[in-house]
Symmetry: C2
Subunit: 308 residues, 2 copies
């Protein structure tokens, strides 16, 4: 059984709830994680859509411990652990491995721009060497629209050569299918698992041998996404993909993170979910109403969700 | 005496030395700070050129304490304290105020892109409220080429209105003189100190009523930059500006941070200075030789510098 078979083909960058002091709310996070798992979606906590970079390293380690203490299975977790500062990345990655997390999703350090592949290689290599644990499985995180620091094909090649097994895959959030396809062709055959960065590319990705997807909207539409990931070889797959795209389309025109939280607040009946940390802002009441109306028009629901 | 008169017109984002384990070297940092002060340059520790975002919050607080313990004057310090995560920005800013630092230089949270001015306002407002100390003086940090998250004129206007006195100025590293001039015209008359992000704009900035500059190359050429900031009304100022530009020009074509460290290593006779943290890489031996030759051709020196 390879890594992907263990963790599943669909993961969600789990949104992070905050209390009225804007502190992370571990109880609500655990509940949301349970609902995702019940819908066959794995836990990419501390992703972009988790506001991970708005959390301190200490907060992230605290939340991870709270999830494990709450009985959530670390073998279904792929926490984001790539920070700007090497010691933060090392500390968080070491904690994730210590908790038994299946893998970690690792951004490149993203403050300095136009850095060399040598510098990025050195970042990943230092983390791997300092963590120094054979259980470590790194999924690289390529998200140039946000990080503005890409993970190039040549960097992947070099890391895979020097750290086979440990460098286990990638999430490609470039939105550029040509790039995803190049990764699928060059690296997936060597056991390097390529996850699309959104379910929009799920069917294309698995048809080209890829692992699946790690997608923001898996926070709200997990069952249908996971279903397509299981049944993509069957008839009707293209129709299922079109249905996924329609739900995702309802979130277009809104900032994704407050949009996801507005949907969870509404369908889970828990107003506390709407909070975001700065620099994000919640949707306005009018935006929320419009978003929910658009979702309900499509017959969308989040069955079984209990927000609080 | 206003803030700028106290801290001086020229500050350096002090480069951070690392030991052979890539840990920050507080002793060498203190020595470099002493040399800068002896050349009339203030200490903008934890700036972009300090590799501040490659340091953890704990490392930064530790270094700040070590500098104060080593007798360096906090009233000449403007540490960078703006992080992606609100609790990090609050913790670091609170520490800086506690140590008696004259001000702090504050990046916006820089992971999420295309965020609203409302979200950025909320970030700064939350920090100010949570730190809750009248001694706090915030210098905003506008560096769109790196942070990719701008500090707009409308954001400044709103912050200045709601937090007069606390919002004390800005470093404009846009490299766009029209933007600097707009800030000088709109905000400097209200006691909001505009610092150019490089000495290239020093003379233009002070001639338009600005405070001075906070510049990478003040790490290596402090005396001449501080001299122009003092004597800009005198004859010969344009020639002095041209001479500053020539020295800065010698660093063009090299990545700035390893370039500065290579100069300090050479002119201070201390090879340990060349280290950088990932994702940066040191200059190659050939690059170092070429950089130093270019500087020596201009008769450049760093008198009084002792690296170790």
């Amino acid at each position: 059984m390879n890594q992907t078979d263990r963790i599943g083909r669909v993961l969600s960058p789990v949104v992070t709830p905050f209390n009225d002091k804007l502190e992370p709310d571990a109880g609500r996070l655990a509940n949301h994680c349970r609902w995702l798992l019940a819908n066959d979606v794995g836990l990419a906590v501390f992703g972009t859509n988790s506001e991970a970079n708005s959390l301190s390293t200490g907060e992230k380690i605290g939340l991870l411990g709270a999830l494990v203490d709450a009985g959530l299975p670390p073998e279904r977790m792929m926490p984001g652990t790539g920070c700007c500062a090497l010691p933060d990345s090392v500390e968080l990655t070491r904690a994730a491995v210590g908790f038994g997390c299946m893998g970690v999703l690792m951004l490149p350090p993203f403050y300095y721009k136009n850095v060399s592949d040598d510098g990025l290689y050195r970042n990943y290599a230092e983390i791997i060497e300092r963590v120094g644990d054979d259980r470590l499985r790194i999924y690289l995180y390529h998200i140039p629209p946000v990080a503005q620091v890409p993970v190039s094909l040549t960097l992947i090649e070099r890391l895979l050569k020097d750290y086979p097994g440990i460098v286990a895959g990638i999430k490609d959030s470039s939105g550029d299918w040509n790039n995803t396809r190049a990764m699928l062709e060059q690296f997936q055959p060597h056991g390097f698992d390529v996850f699309a960065g959104s379910e929009t590319f799920l069917l294309d990705t698995v048809r080209h041998g890829g692992a699946g997807c790690i997608s923001a909207t898996a926070n709200v539409n997990p069952a249908a996404i996971a279903d397509l990931a299981r049944t993509w070889r069957d008839e009707g797959a293209d129709e299922k993909q079109a249905a996924l795209n329609a739900v995702r389309g309802a979130f277009e025109g809104y900032v994704m993170i407050p949009g996801l939280k507005a949907a969870i607040a509404h369908f889970g009946g828990d107003e506390d979910w709407i909070r975001v940390r700065p620099p994000l802002v919640s949707l306005t009441p009018a935006q929320r109403q419009q978003l929910i109306a658009g979702l309900e028009d499509k017959g969308f629901d989040m069955p079984g969700l209990q927000g609080a």
